[in-house]
Symmetry: C2
Subunit: 241 residues, 2 copies
DNA sequence: CGTCTCTTTGAATGGTATCAAACCCGGTGG
DNA sequence: CCACCGGGTTTGATACCATTCAAAGAGACG
């Protein structure tokens, strides 16, 4: 069995790795103008597990970059059920989709003790030059997000519960790898309920899917600890696009 | 029975109604600077039913505004199945999500004889001022699209097939109303297969859902002709958010 | 070591996909 | 004008997967 250090969240080493410098990891709009973004960075602070970074419907004052730990955004629907919208890892930016209305459209909750950098919105509008840079960055992230959501929609329609979980795990693994974090063996900071909610399923089905993936030899699971055993086979079997 | 004029697609009256002037109908970033966008408008042409406006993976040369008629975008997935991504009505802009890569990510197919205005991409980068305006416009549309996709994801997870169809029809009705087109009684330009694909369901289920909505007195259906009979009750019963 | 929360597993129910056949409508040609 | 044809649509029967309800099991923490 693997001995896991207790509750040590994933962390970025330096500002150079910080997501605000390349808001969308797959974007290459920016060459190396990290310096130009420095003026936008505000103060840092930590958020405890289950604490909210911001509330739905509250006015937006900043963008938030996850420095360490992880978050989920979720909204409460008309029936009072919580729906998980997205998970955020170190380097991810929270609040982009709220910029237009300058009002948060979801709750942001820390999944573990986490550290945050702020990018106050009042820095915008000071200088057209840097405004334009950050605007294009945001645009690029939005494009990525649109693509990701499209992916999710596609999956929700075609793939069964097990395939959706497999995709989720592979995507998570890819994101961890992009951040130079352990991507083959990791600890999920979110519970089965959150995963199920994100995948538009139920916690029982999610749990069964974990078991199924383990039974078929793709992964090893023990509670929140996941090890991806046969990554290529898993992609071959479950990844559609 | 209603006598329907044969195949007369919905149409915009003037450039003032054109979507490029307020790319996202719910956005209010622009005050009234329609004039500033005029230089961006390129030539017009028509597309026949089932003809493609552009192909997936082809390089993007322009944005396309639907002037009359309607379109669907769809992609062929790994299994060779067509997946409908979005439907476009007069005033809608095609190609926004492809801007980052300047490469189309889906096929765009005319659902009926349609008319198109182009916004060639080579107009961009000439003038920072107008670039910035169009950039913000696009950003605003992206925000709207993100919201819509989020809505769809939500529905795919929670609502059953009938509720999803109801939502689809109500949303379509709203979009027609925004364009000052008949919104209570209209002719669907897309077939059951396309609707089913968009809703991540099957044509049989879509058909049954139409029947169910009619049986319960919410709508009247006769092939592609739809009349919304009890709009408020339908919203009350099916619309989640 | 006990308690609480989260997770796993089981059995029954229900919605949707699938397979199959009949039907309707629009268009064509006699 | 009517008969016919073909694509699209409706409806029916069955099978399967996911949800739901229920209970037992594992892990975290004091």
């Amino acid at each position: 069995m693997v001995s896991v250090a207790r509750h040590r969240p994933a962390e970025l080493q330096s500002c150079e790795d910080c997501g605000i410098g390349r808001l969308c990891l797959s974007s290459n709009l920016l060459g190396g103008n990290l310096q130009e973004l420095k003026p936008f960075i505000g103060n840092q602070f930590t958020v405890q597990r289950r604490e909210r970074l911001f509330d739905a419907y509250s006015p937006q004052r900043a963008l938030y970059v996850v420095r360490a730990g992880s978050f989920k955004t979720c909204e409460i629907d008309a029936d009072g059920d919580e729906q998980v919208l997205e998970f955020y890892l170190p380097g991810d930016v929270l609040g982009l989709e709220d910029l237009l209305q300058r009002r948060h459209r979801a709750d942001a909750v820390a999944l573990e003790e986490s550290s945050i950098c702020t990018v106050p919105l009042d820095r915008f509008g000071q200088d057209d030059e840097s405004d334009s840079i950050i605007f294009r960055e945001m645009f690029s992230v939005m494009c990525c997000k649109l693509g990701e959501q499209r992916q999710l929609i596609h999956q929700l329609g075609k793939a069964d519960a097990t395939a959706r979980l497999a995709s989720f795990l592979l995507h998570l693994s890819d994101r961890l790898a992009e951040r130079n974090l352990p991507a083959r063996q990791f600890r999920l900071s979110m519970g089965r309920t959150d995963i199920a909610s994100y995948l538009r399923s139920t916690l029982e089905t999610a749990s069964r899917s974990f078991s199924a993936l383990q039974r078929e030899g793709f992964i090893h699971v023990r509670g929140k600890n996941v090890q991806i055993i046969d990554d290529p086979a898993m992609r071959e079997r479950f990844l559609l696009t």
